[in-house]
Symmetry: C2
Subunit: 335 residues, 2 copies
């Protein structure tokens, strides 16, 4: 069965694609088998992460960007919309409807919304797997859209080769509004809603933040998650470093989108010529491997340690006669 | 040595406390030993999580709340400010300075800022440990402040017994602004900056979101991280359910802070009478145990599997001759 599914995916069949995406999201064994079969066909797509605080107009921007890739470059575009805002209900309904109006019916566009189920590791892992499916299915561009600032978005955005951080004027005037912008992961800064008052101030603030950030010392490293860190590629030191450009856009009418697409292409070219593409690819796959190992180890633990020992140890923690640290040691001795 | 440190902490010595917090943040063995010794002295503090999008004025609100507990209730107050906005630089400098003006010099207040280093599991784990230290050191109230919406904040907020979600008028007018509010984890909703235009609309929107959320079906469950989920305490069904109240505040002048403190006390009383306090305590400690086990297992993995096998397997993934799933199986066979 999975082989048939895999052949259909590679042949570009939409229904098979849709079905596999569901299998992957639900983490079924058929989905996993298909991922293994598809993996050799991955590595061709350009993964673009789009992140930013709520209210910046990210969804419309992604919409416009996808339209641009369709109309002027005839590229196959997939959008993975990750919405970690609601761990219970899963959102993105209205946002999708807006998007669908422009892109629906186009066979070279595929939009997938993901509710943020499960733990963070699971979210980033599932997003990575969905991106792999689209990559293998021949999509040239895979846009990964996430909401808000925070570690989860950082993790999801780091799946991408190029990360856009979207800001907008007037999103709160205190310092935190900029502090919380995950500036450091941005390859390109987008100031959307560029027709709003205060846009110059937003750009000025971003520029001074960039100066403070010392871009010469930026390191691409996945904190804590990768097991061992790749040594920097020596070739990189010979090429000029990438200083995140700031692009103003108005996603409601498409202003600035073409220039933004140019910057994205320029960034991809920079990654290739500097050797950073390979560095990021390695880091990305290393994180994926670490996540899979972590999940498998926990599964093994749960299968080995008896429910009754687990429960009695937990009770000792609750009664504060054993600390969590000691309890972990006791349980791990069973493995 | 650690025993001396522990005695000093229990005796309320500030310098020892400060030193231990650093040890715990750096995850040293001395810090871990002290945590084990201190653990029996924990379980008395009321942990209050404060979360919300950037620009809502969370820091000032926490400031006012701490002042209230000092001035009118003479409680010892600790603040753990977690700032996951900057994985590279660590932020919160200016926010702290503002806060310090009102609270500095008070021996019954302790403020600790944490940059978001390390992975998410690490962040929540470190925050939990810091809260334990404050708890053992006799702080009655431990306020855990986090920035923004997202899974990481959900995880950190869930360390608390009472979680405040802070909103403010005018933070972006599209649907996402509310969608991204992590409404579902809120025990109390705070509409801060209550003197701003649009405050009624924000409250109205929150009210309709609450109605949609079907509070009767709210479940306290840590998605994906806890290994086994506690069965609901049957006593809980006999007591009235908690519907998150909405409290308007103006943190710049303290309006609404007293009422907010009343709601917080009311929520704690509700948790105790309904049995939910015990349910949350169990869930919280279970998550902590799971995190410790996961970390220990990964450490064991890294010590067992040779660097050369790891590296050659990773290379096969990069060359796309082995999928990450297969690679994980190969490496795990070594353990």
């Amino acid at each position: 069965m999975p082989m048939n599914l895999v052949q259909s995916i590679l042949a570009g069949e939409r229904l098979a694609l849709s079905r596999l995406l569901t299998q992957v999201e639900n983490d079924t064994s058929a989905g996993r088998e298909a991922l293994i079969e598809l993996f050799p066909h991955t590595g061709k797509a350009h993964l673009i992460g789009v992140t930013g605080a709520p209210g910046t107009g990210k969804s419309s921007l992604v919409n416009q960007l996808a339209l641009h890739y369709r109309k002027t470059e005839d590229k196959k575009v997939a959008i993975v919309a990750v919405d970690p805002s609601s761990p219970f209900t899963g959102g993105a309904v209205l946002g999708d409807r807006v998007r669908m109006r422009d892109l629906s019916g186009d066979p070279k566009v595929f939009i997938r919304s993901m509710a943020s189920r499960g733990s963070l590791g699971g979210l980033a892992q599932t997003t990575a797997s969905l991106a792999q499916v689209f990559d293998a299915a021949g999509f040239d561009i895979v846009i990964i859209e996430t909401v808000g600032a925070g570690q989860s978005e950082v993790d999801v955005a780091r799946l991408a080769q190029t990360t856009l951080v979207v800001e907008a004027p007037g999103l709160g005037d205190d310092i935190q509004a900029i502090k919380a912008g995950i500036l450091e992961i941005a390859d390109i800064l987008v100031v959307n809603k560029g027709d709003r008052p205060g846009v110059e101030n937003t750009e000025k603030a971003l520029k001074s933040m960039l100066d403070l950030a010392h871009p010469t010392q930026r390191i691409f490293q996945h904190h804590g998650t990768a097991m061992r860190t790749a040594a920097p590629v020596s070739a990189a030191s010979a090429t000029p470093i990438w200083i995140p450009p700031i692009q103003r856009t108005i996603s409601t009418d498409g202003t600035g989108i073409e220039k933004l697409a140019e910057l994205i292409a320029k960034h991809a070219a920079h990654l290739r010529s500097s050797g950073d593409w390979a560095v990021r690819e390695r880091a990305r796959l290393e994180v994926e491997l670490a996540t899979l190992i972590r999940t498998a180890l926990m599964k093994r633990f749960q299968e080995t340690v008896s429910q009754s020992l687990y429960e009695s140890t937990l009770q000792k923690i609750i009664q504060r006669t054993t600390s969590p640290w000691e309890a972990a040691q006791i349980l791990l001795k069973e493995m």
